[in-house]
């Protein structure tokens, strides 16, 4: 069987050997953006973290645990999110609600500890879908950098942390 040579080394023409055309084509893009941002005030970057890009309303970022209308934790530690998580990022320890903390929880079971390992999480949003209580949403924005592995484990305190009071209801 005859072999067909598919790959052939491209032979440069004499003028192509100077790379003049390629370089000027590349520089044209650079120049275009330079003119746009320097003279026409159309910036293509923002100075993060002072300024932030607007995110889509469906953007899946950091996890947040929600509260209900009475300010009680919605999460009842049913383990549905831990069960569905394809990356094994969620670890829950459940406990029984004692009368002293009954006002914090609508049911008799709560998550004593709720940890999301951001190094494992793939932000697929399945936990959002699996949650029967509407307790977890990935609406916390961009993941924050940290200087250690421990810093990238979201615990309950971080996920319940809110700006201006309890997070109520649906995804914001």
């Amino acid at each position: 069987m005859a072999t067909i040579q598919v790959h052939k080394k491209y032979a440069f023409k004499w003028y192509e050997k100077f790379y003049f055309m390629s370089i000027s084509a590349g520089m044209w893009v650079t120049l275009k953006h330079f003119v746009k941002s320097a003279f026409l005030r159309r910036m293509v970057t923002v100075s993060y973290p002072e300024k932030k890009m607007p995110l889509s309303s469906r953007f899946r970022g950091l996890h947040r645990l929600k509260r209900n209308e009475k300010g009680q934790e919605r999460c009842t530690a049913c383990y549905c999110c831990q069960w569905v998580c394809p990356a094994d990022a969620i670890q829950i320890v459940a406990a029984e609600v004692t009368p002293e903390r009954q006002y914090l929880h609508p049911e008799d079971k709560y998550a004593k500890s709720f940890q999301v390992d951001l190094l494992r999480c793939i932000y697929c949003g399945l936990c959002e879908e699996a949650c029967p209580k509407g307790a977890i949403y990935l609406d916390g924005g961009m993941p924050m950098p940290a200087d250690s592995r421990d810093g990238l484990i979201l615990d309950k305190a971080k996920m319940m942390e809110t700006e201006g009071g309890a997070i109520l209801g649906e995804r914001n």
Partner: protein
């Protein structure tokens, strides 16, 4: 045998059995909550309704005697609608809290709600809300979930033989309550018999829950294997519940008609917290060392000792017991005085073959019969044990002082549920054997084969880690003489061996170094 027709199909069933059981044998499953093969029939739940030709009203299948030529309509349109109605009534007060209920996944009500019930409810009024109560040392009752099937009350009366659960109030307010028997001198606050796990198990809903395993896992996470319970010499057949290489509980066998419907709490929770605090290293006088130090030291001690006392072996499988017996015979052949005892704790002294209750044997060492056949003697009292220890040059304790077995020894059928799964490590210090070794100042001449790290391993001259019962398969001989096999249900710790294997290695252990002398 009687011929009956179910939805037009002819079945030949055993007329001595209950209709539900008889049809189940033929593969026809009539839904039921309150009916249980081992309990009397009450017909409380009405979910097993069937239509019988010639009878104007629907009948409860559990309460219908089998007659030859009976024509049953079990899954027709009319009867399915009737069951839907019953289901709706049962679910009136039942909260929708399957996500937080420990029973979810093994719940009859959940299953039948999926298969027979409606998606929605027409009930608009407020559901009753009665707070959850602790009624047993290891038992919680959630009245809201209860469907009043009467199974728990019947079980306590008919199987356990205590009259301490009762239905209180009437109508919508009916609850199951703990009513301590009046005759006993002091009233107990909690139900404290040995079958609280079985109560939670036969409850068809999540009303009765074991505090012991509460909220620790979901049932669909458990891996199940067939095995035999290691708790006593009854050796019940069980299904194991393992998650993340930790044993949570035993459940009754897959085929209860052959292997028994119930297991006691003693066995059910015997493997609880087992994986915690394992002894994973050899130790010499409490300090961590290696097998290269300890095994020659032990070989040397055996060589120099004139009288050896071997205590234990009843927790080990037949192969290990054979090996222990072989070693003992070798030592005897070498002219040593060897005494082999087992069951060295007060609760086990001279219990023989009697029973704590209908399942739990007085013999808490599973392989006791085999050991007796092999020539081990049983100590009858505490003083005998102490004098034996004083007279011996070397005391070899095999398994008897490891925490789960010691806990077994210590717990009685009355208090075990309270102890079960908790603080088993502390149980070692309360054993007779620990006390005897302590008072005879015999730790210096003690070699300990054990599974868990505890105060005994810190004191003993030599401590040797070994594999424990859930980690290895083995044969056991129960009290009736039947051979039963346990399976390895947990992944064994790498490098650990069973006492039999260690004794084999001991023979080939190098001659002692200068430092390791008694």
């Amino acid at each position: 045998m009687a011929k009956i027709f179910v939805d037009g199909t002819e079945y030949e069933v055993d007329e001595k059995k209950n209709l539900i059981d008889a049809l189940k044998d033929k593969g026809v499953e009539i839904p039921h909550f309150c009916y249980h093969s081992k309990l009397s029939v009450v017909g409380m739940c009405r979910i097993c309704l069937i239509e019988i030709e010639g009878v104007p009203k629907f009948q409860a299948a559990c309460n219908t005697p089998i007659k030859d030529g009976m024509k049953i309509n079990a899954f027709g349109e009319k009867i399915v609608k009737a069951r839907e109605g019953v289901m709706e009534f049962l679910l009136i007060n039942h909260p929708l809290d399957c996500p937080v209920c420990d029973k979810a996944g093994e719940c009859r009500l959940q299953n039948y709600s999926f298969s027979l019930g409606h998606e929605t409810t027409r009930y608009k009024e407020e559901k009753r809300n009665i707070p959850q109560e602790k009624i047993g040392t290891n038992l919680l009752i959630n009245h809201n979930r209860c469907i009043l099937c009467y199974r728990c009350v019947r079980f306590d009366r008919e199987v356990v033989g205590v009259n301490d659960l009762e239905m209180l109030a009437r109508g919508n307010d009916t609850i199951i309550a703990y009513t301590p028997p009046e005759t006993s001198g002091e009233k107990s606050t909690y139900l404290n018999h040995n079958y609280q796990g079985a109560l939670a198990d036969i409850c068809p809903v999540g009303a009765l829950l074991n505090e012991n395993t509460l909220f620790q896992s979901r049932v669909w996470w458990y891996e199940s294997h067939e095995s035999h319970c290691h708790g006593c010499s009854t050796l019940c057949k069980v299904t194991t519940n393992v998650k993340n290489n930790a044993l949570y509980r035993y459940m009754p066998a897959q085929n209860p008609h052959a292997d028994g419907f119930f297991i006691c709490d003693y066995g059910r929770f015997s493997g609880k917290n087992f994986s915690e605090n394992r002894l994973l290293h050899y130790a010499e006088a409490g300090a961590k060392t290696t097998s290269k130090q300890v095994l020659p030291a032990l070989a040397d001690k055996i060589a120099s000792a004139r009288s050896i006392l071997v205590i234990g072996g009843g927790t080990e499988s037949c192969d290990d017991v054979d090996q222990i017996a072989a070693s003992i015979n070798e030592w005897r052949a070498a002219g040593k005085q060897v005494k082999w005892d087992f069951r060295s704790s007060r609760n086990a002294f001279s219990k023989g073959n009697d029973h704590y209750d209908f399942l739990l044997s007085g013999d808490l060492r599973p392989n006791a019969k085999y050991l007796r056949d092999k020539g081990a003697t049983e100590l009858k009292d505490f003083d005998a044990l102490q004098s034996e220890i004083r007279n011996a040059d070397l005391v070899v304790v095999i398994g008897e002082l490891s925490a789960p077995y010691a806990y077994h020894m210590n717990a009685t059928s009355e208090n075990h549920a309270h102890v079960a799964g908790l603080e088993i490590a502390n149980a070692v210090e309360d054993t007779e054997l620990f006390g005897s070794l302590e008072s005879a100042a015999a730790w210096i001449k003690t070699a300990l084969f054990t599974t868990h790290h505890d105060s005994a391993t810190l004191r003993a001259a030599l401590a040797i880690p070994m594999l424990a019962f859930p980690e290895r398969a083995g044969r056991f001989v129960d009290k009736t003489g039947a051979t039963k096999t346990t399976n390895s249900v947990l992944k064994p710790v790498q490098g650990l061996e069973s006492p039999g294997q260690i004794l084999v290695r001991l023979k080939t252990a190098a001659r002692p170094t200068a430092g390791a002398s008694a």
